[in-house]
Amino acid sequence: MPMARRKKTIKGAELMCRSLVEEGVTYLFGYTGGAIMPVYDAFPKFPQLRHIMVRHEQAAAFAAQGMARATGKPGVCIATSGPGATNLMTGIADAHMDSIPLVAITGQVATSVIGTDAFQESDIIGMLVPVTKQSYILDDPYEIPRVVKEAFYLANTGRKGPVNIDFPKDIANAVIEDHGFDTTIRYPVPPPPGIRREQLAQAQTLMAAAKRPIVFVGHGVIQSGAQGEVRHFLERSHMPFACTLHGISALPADHPQCLGMMGMHGTVEANRAIEHADLIIALGMRFDDRVTGKLDEYAKDADVIHVEQDPSEINKNVRATVAIYSDLKPAVAEMTKVVGRKPYKEWYAFAAKNREYWESIDPINRGNGRGDSRNLLMGSVIRKLSDLTDGKDNVVADVGQHQMFAARYYRFHRFNTWFNSGGLGSMGFSVPAAMGVKFARPGERVWVIVGDGSFQMNIQELGTIMEQRIDMKILLLNNNFLGMVRQWQDLFHGSRFVGTPVKNPDFIALAGAYGIAGERVSEGKGLEPALRRAMKHKGAYLLEIVTDMEEMILPMIPAGSRFSDMRVTR
């Protein structure tokens, strides 16, 4: 009698891993624990998946973001149920605000006890709904391949963002027959309709009439890879452009038509140009409050042509004269065909005058780049770093004054080399995100620019750096203060420095404890050789610079103020 052929079976956790491999995942950043153990148990069978164990789940989400930001493909983080999952939340919310594709896999207690406040249970779907594009709870092992496929599809399609998969332990342990899984995407995302003929005609009329136009380069330009089309449009039209915080590094900073960053801490020439513009062409950006200041007074004389692939961002904050719901590449290509070239002589002269004015008062051009305390200014440190690296390195900034200085003073020459937390503004972003960037770009140099406050928000990741031998350069700008808040206290709260002075540890000794080389620079003349040593050193390097505590990032448009209220001096 013939023996019944044994059916091939697979475990839920293995099916999860196989599905991740099929999505092309190479790195996962995570931390194990009770409910997610079955997935970890399956990792050895899938050598294509390289798991990087972090020291805190928040860092896993940021590291996955770093990977996603550098590759344009979804990053993956993984954590256990309960506290593991809730610790991911800040990083997921951050990805949601900055439209970063991320797939977060969280362990969950067994389906039989969900809802009973079981040990390490948290209603992570309930918590993550407002900050994810989609959240799944896998309550059927046969759904694993489909859900994983759809999660990656949704994270990376249309406006990108995070997706969460909650994976109960009994589903991960379930053994099921292994063949022919349904992987149909249930929610296909329709492409944007694109630029309409009458919109193109309207845009053409506005562009032909404009005497003082300005083009806004947003994060969308980087994410859609439309930098070529945008550059062509700019060079054909000869219009000046400004970047949003996330638009930086879409085009080279030294492009002759570039006015630099716009908004709260934008350059004088960009903000004055926006104030006086008669036409704004906004490409892949969302008119965030840090960009606009007081909305009713914002760019009052300007018509707005807004090109966006997320229709909910059009007419949200700023009313568009021409609202184009489209992918950037085709829309910008169409607009290039109908735009005329003008010299805009007076317009550029106006910008040049503002730039020269700022150069004449920029504190870093005086006193050898040092402040009244004789300590170095952050601005001059970043400018020196930019010069020594030709603006060609990857820069991952944290959140605070140093972030704005990095955005303003590093002259980015290469596409998509600037990474930071813009929307959520999460301190602690830089060190873990830079780990992700370094894994994505192993052959390139990666700098972390971080303050003494933010460094300590994920300082435990020095352990991951040590273990994984991650060669990244940490430039710690230490003013022993939470500088950005201090600046606001100085300007708007009568210089009452509440909760901002920081009593710091010996950072170099701390790095040393993790086997990471480093040095501290407190003298201006020591900066350049120290930067060179950091660059030359093989392996991670902590370079701590003692900076001036009274330094302010200027110009500044106070929150909710008009552009004409821009402060250029203290």
Binding site: G126, V129, E177, Y187, P188, P190
Partner: protein
């Protein structure tokens, strides 16, 4: 009873756990106050119809909320139907105070509003009326002459007079998925 200008949104949703939660979470985030919400099945298996009415959608906020709802994965179609060519109906159950000699008057009043009496007790009657929200409002006001002891309103539900776009091209329902795949025991 205060009259409010209501904005009405019609949405079609994939009937999945958590969709309503997502929708309401979004509305809460935008700080809207939901006046009424009705949800029920449609003739398409797996697709539900939702009608939500809000008070005070200032300026472009109503447009914003529609755009935001449209981003919810399981909601393939949503639109602002405040001024659209739709039929808008609500059902109300009214507990009206009525002594035996009032009964005939209550019954007649119910008929004026196209309603009917569905329950009679010694001191009250229950009246059922279906109509536009404004008509329901005025019916309730009229019955206040007798005394109203209870009101149960369902909230509006709307339907387009002509063909409706349920966004079915944006969703793959189970029966349209690959047949015979999946090896569920």
């Amino acid at each position: 009873m205060k009259r409010k200008k209501l904005n009405t949104i019609l949405a079609f949703a994939h009937n999945q756990p958590g969709v309503l939660y997502k929708l309401l979470s979004l509305i809460r985030k935008k700080r809207y106050n939901v006046e009424t919400i009705t949800v029920g099945h449609t003739h398409v298996d797996g697709i539900s119809r939702m009608t939500i009415s809000f008070s005070h959608g200032e300026g472009n906020k109503i447009e914003q909320i529609v755009q935001q709802i449209a981003k919810i994965t399981e909601i393939p179609k949503t639109e602002d139907v405040t001024d659209a060519d739709v039929i808008n109906r609500e059902l109300v159950l009214l507990k009206v105070k009525a002594s035996p000699k009032d009964r005939v008057h209550v019954t007649a009043t119910a008929q004026i509003f196209g309603g009917k009496v569905i329950y009679v007790a010694r001191t009250h009657m229950i009246v059922e009326i279906t109509g536009k929200q404004e008509n329901i409002d005025s019916a309730i006001r009229t019955f206040e002459d007798f005394g109203v002891a209870g009101v149960a309103r369902t909230g509006a539900t709307v339907m387009h007079r002509e063909e409706e776009d349920m966004g079915l091209d944006r969703i793959v329902l189970p029966e349209r998925r690959m047949a015979s795949l999946g090896n569920r025991p």
